[in-house]
């Protein structure tokens, strides 16, 4: 209605229209909330853009285009059309929501209500399914090589663990479609093996240490993995073969069972002989070779999505299991995630997210040292998480609230078994509960005298309370500015805040005798939480030239500092190893990224750089002082594609105490290596065939010396898709 009024008013004043730029803002007609990512284009000349995080867009209109029609399209809303001449500068375009067609809800509720999108502004990198398949790797570590500040370490036994901006792996929260999958095992780090790279639709990395909604304890950052979902009927099968006796078979079925319901199953079998032992103390030195090791991994993911009129229900079951065998030693590990969630509008309540999930891990080890005695260990952990989130929206403000409940429990049981009898060796059962409430207020404002300039300020608060007694109130602030001029967009941001990380159940249960010199009895009974103060200032610059050799250029730069204190420190004290909670570390860094998309039509270039300064390598060991990666992608219209990536890691330093309690330094020398992938996709009797040849760490410079995942690996794969 209002759009018609705008059109009418402007038609009366055609004389005011001049050639040049037009900015505008697309909002929901009912709530006034900005619509992010709406398509704004000229119908006949087919030029266009999308709206930014505040709903703003900008178009450069040439003389001929004044007779064209402007189309504003956003899934879930009625399309808006108006003559270009009717478009005022800084026009407010209100889109009417409509009842959704089947399947459209997938993207709408995902985009509108993803909690990580409501949080304080941070540096963000995103990888999409197409890039992941083009990279071909079975290891998520390879795929993430081009993302600035992200590093993956680990293996099957320790899990594939992600570090962001020189953090430790337990300081990164990983969410799979909103479910926290940080493991409760040895430490609190998430095992990314839980998700097969081929099952990922989109992977977002949010870097920085202060979040209110989903980043409790995430001093390094938050990772949000969104699995592939759509309403199309899809079938996919792929087989891969590589050295280290690798065999991989994976398949996916996406089946819409009705207009409003879709079932998706993804399964993967992966076999490998790593040929080296995974001994933690050998992680950064020569490794013991063992050709008799075999590992088998299986991923299964079944999800059922149902789309009523105004929302999306999802039920899912995800399992990841592995078996690791060598003579005299066997580990069987099973992970199971079950979740039920709803996103959307309930009768009378808008923008609600509800979720309940349970995550269990069971790890069984059977080992023989000498003779016939078996040592059995059975380790079980469970987390129950319930969440309720609601968003309140005003014309220029938003409040995202969140309430969460966590139940975590752990039981450990080990025994020895000889031919005729079992002897219990050790048993433990511990549990704790936590509740949290958080809210992020944000307000948008703009300067009427300067079109194209707007900003959004954020304030976040969070309260955590543990059943075991600890309570913390943390807060964060942030601001993001957006300035648009012709084909350029500048978006500087700033954030500052405090974050708290609670000791994992294992730490809370076992690290008890703490040495604390500030107390009279010098022994603190319990571990205290770790705290982090961090600030981040950065800018993202984007250019979409009207003409040029590339379609889009994006540049980002950010400077950050992070102070962590209350870190647990194990130090020889007398003849024993004592626990101190005095550790304080300051990490400073600079992160930069530069990319050109569709350079000379066929190429994409991506460069990433990170410079780090860690004050206490005793607490943060082996963080490369510098890392750099460069990637060149080629994609032809005939289905050929290729990717070449070179990467470099500078000196990594660690401090440690030797047996005589002397502080020592160990430095790993820099290395570089490269990955090359070529592939071809072509149609054949109604299906798409995909052949790919890939090589990772081709120069083998890191070899055995560095990390488990950094060995030369060559793979060939064949896939079919329907």
């Amino acid at each position: 209605m209002r759009a018609v009024m705008v059109v009418g008013m402007v038609l009366l004043l055609p004389g005011l229209v001049l050639a040049g730029n037009r900015t505008g803002r697309v909002v929901d007609a009912q709530t006034g909330a900005p619509l992010v990512g709406a398509d704004v284009y000229l119908q006949h000349s087919r030029v266009g853009t999308t709206t930014d995080s505040l709903g703003w867009f900008q178009l450069t209109i040439t003389r001929e285009q004044w007779r064209d029609t402007l189309v504003v399209h956003f899934l879930g809303y009625r399309e808006l059309r108006l003559p270009v001449v009717a478009l005022e500068n800084q026009a407010l375009l209100r889109l009417q929501p409509v009842a959704l067609k089947a399947g459209e809800g997938i993207e709408v509720w995902g985009e509108k209500q993803e909690l990580v999108r409501q949080d304080i502004p941070h540096a963000r990198s995103t990888i999409h399914f197409e890039e992941i398949t083009a990279y071909g790797s079975q290891e998520i570590s390879d795929v993430l090589k081009t993302v600035p500040s992200v590093r993956i370490t680990g293996n099957d036994l320790d899990g594939r663990r992600m570090e962001i901006r020189g953090s430790n792996a337990d300081e990164v929260n990983v969410y799979l479609d909103g479910i926290l999958i940080n493991n409760l095992r040895l430490d609190n780090a998430a095992d990314l093996s839980l998700i097969s790279p081929e099952d990922i639709g989109r992977l977002e990395v949010l870097k920085g240490g202060n979040y209110s909604l989903l980043g409790s304890g995430a001093f390094g950052g938050v990772v949000n993995v969104v699995t592939r979902r759509s309403m199309e009927r899809r079938f996919r099968l792929k087989a891969k073969m590589g050295n280290l006796h690798t065999r991989i078979l994976l398949g996916e079925i996406n089946l819409p069972v009705s207009q409003r319901m879709v079932v998706n199953y993804f399964g993967q079998y992966h076999r490998l002989s790593p040929e080296v032992e995974y001994f933690p103390l050998e992680q950064f030195s020569d490794k013991t070779e063992n050709k008799q090791i075999t590992t088998e991994r299986q991923n299964h993911h079944l999800s059922l999505s149902f789309f009523p009129q105004n929302g999306q229900w999802t039920a899912r079951l995800l399992s990841y299991s592995y078996t690791y065998r060598k003579p005299g030693w066997e580990d069987r590990n099973n992970n199971l995630v079950g979740a039920l969630s709803f996103r959307g509008n309930l009768p009378g309540i808008r923008d609600v997210e509800m979720m309940i999930n349970q995550f269990t891990v069971r790890d069984r080890v059977d080992r023989v040292t000498e003779g016939t005695t078996h040592y059995l260990s059975d380790y079980r952990v469970k987390r129950v998480n319930a969440r309720l989130a609601k968003k309140f929206t005003g014309s220029s403000w938003e409040v995202q609230t969140l309430t969460e409940y966590f139940h975590e429990e752990l039981s450990q049981n080990s025994r020895s078994r000889s031919e005729d009898r079992e002897v219990p060796l050790y048993r433990a059962d511990v549990y704790d509960n936590r509740i949290a409430g958080a809210a992020v207020f944000s307000a948008t404002d703009q300067l009427s005298s300067r079109p194209g300039l707007s900003w959004k300020t954020y304030l976040g608060i969070r309260l955590d309370a543990l059943a075991s007694g600890q309570q913390d109130l943390t807060h964060t602030v942030g601001v993001r500015l957006t300035y648009r001029q012709k084909e350029w967009e500048y978006a500087p941001y700033f954030n500052f805040g405090k974050n708290v990380k609670y000791p994992s159940l294992l730490e809370a249960a076992y690290v008890r005798e703490l040495v604390d010199f500030s107390r009279r009895d010098s022994l603190a009974r319990r571990l205290e939480p770790e705290y982090n103060n961090s600030t981040d200032i950065g800018v993202r610059v984007k250019q979409i030239p009207e003409q040029g050799v590339y379609r889009e250029m994006e540049m980002s730069l950010s400077v950050f500092t992070r102070t962590v204190y209350n870190k647990l420190l194990k130090q020889p004290y007398g003849n024993e190893l004592a626990n101190f909670q005095l550790g304080r570390n300051v990490t400073r860094g600079l992160e930069a990224a530069l990319s050109w998309k569709e350079l000379y039509e066929y190429f994409t270039v991506q460069l990433a750089y990170l410079k780090l300064n860690v004050s206490e390598p005793l607490l943060y060991a082996y963080k490369p002082e510098e890392s750099f990666s460069a990637q060149l992608r080629f994609r032809s219209s005939a289905g050929w594609y290729g990717t070449a990536t070179v990467f470099y890691e500078g000196n990594s330093v660690a401090w440690y105490y030797d047996l005589e309690n002397h502080l020592r330094t160990k430095t790993l020398s820099p290395f570089y290596d490269m990955d090359v992938v070529v592939g071809w996709r072509f149609p054949l009797i109604g299906i798409t065939v995909h052949i790919q040849l890939a090589g990772y760490n081709l120069l083998d410079h890191a070899g055995y010396r560095y990390d488990y995942l950094k060995k030369r690996y060559v793979q060939i794969s064949l896939g079919v898709r329907y």
């Binding site: 036994l157 040895l186 032992e277 995974y278 001994f279 933690p280 103390l281 050998e282 013991t288 060598k326 005299g328 030693w329 080890v365 080992r367 040292t369 000498e370 005695t373 040592y375 129950v384 139940h407 429990e409 450990q412 080990s414 020895s416 060796l425 050790y426 048993r427 433990a428 059962d429 511990v430 549990y431 704790d432 509960n433 543990l466 059943a467 075991s468 159940l505 809370a508 249960a509 076992y510 008890r512 319990r526 190893l577 047996l659």
Partner: protein, 251 residues
Amino acid sequence: MNAMLRMLLLFLLFFLTSCEKYVGYNLDAEPLPVTVRISGSVRDFYTNQPLEGVRVRFGDYQTSTDQSGFYQLDYPYGTDEERNKPVELLVILKKYLPFHESVILPPITYIRDFRLVRGAPIIQKVVLPPFTTNSGRQIYVCQAQVKDYQGVVDIQLVEALVYYQFPGNPHLSKYRKELTLVYELSDTTAYYEGIFPPFLSDGSTIYRRYEIYAVNRSGLADTLVALRSPTQPDTFLFTPVLDDTIPEIVP
């Protein structure tokens, strides 16, 4: 509807209060065993005597045996050991063949006894009595009984170092000479003999103190420092097998 809601609430309340596990906490666990206690004894392989001062080394950690040959060590048991990483084990005592092995340690306790093989020769008996030859010259005969468990053939060298003294001068001269094998008592034990003059060319006369040194092919050696009785001459171990090449003047 209202009744149902009430039922639901009641059920929830019941659930929450009955399951302390879902509202309370328990963080009391018995301390996790973080070391494995390694203990045992070390004895001589041939004599079964306990050996004292034996260095027993597991990985980076070591200890030594007491008088009764016992040792005990608390070895930090980490993830590497849990994953069956072999630990290098080394048992060392001077004059004994070192024992080396890779072991996979079990959790909690590990008991291991060792019997070390004496590698070095053993100088069992030694004498240095005076003897008058048929030609009337007085000499000293050094006789030694040396044992080597690896066999007499393994003994490479047995030599004696005899001290000579100037009257009224504290300075001692030395005369070193290899002893020759004269008789095999068994596969492992043999007699050795050598002849020494009563005085050297520089005028010094034989002193009470002398040393015997024996070494075998493994490079392991035994040394014995002996003193002649000033009053009572030593008795011969066996009838001397004299050699005519007695040097008149010693360099």
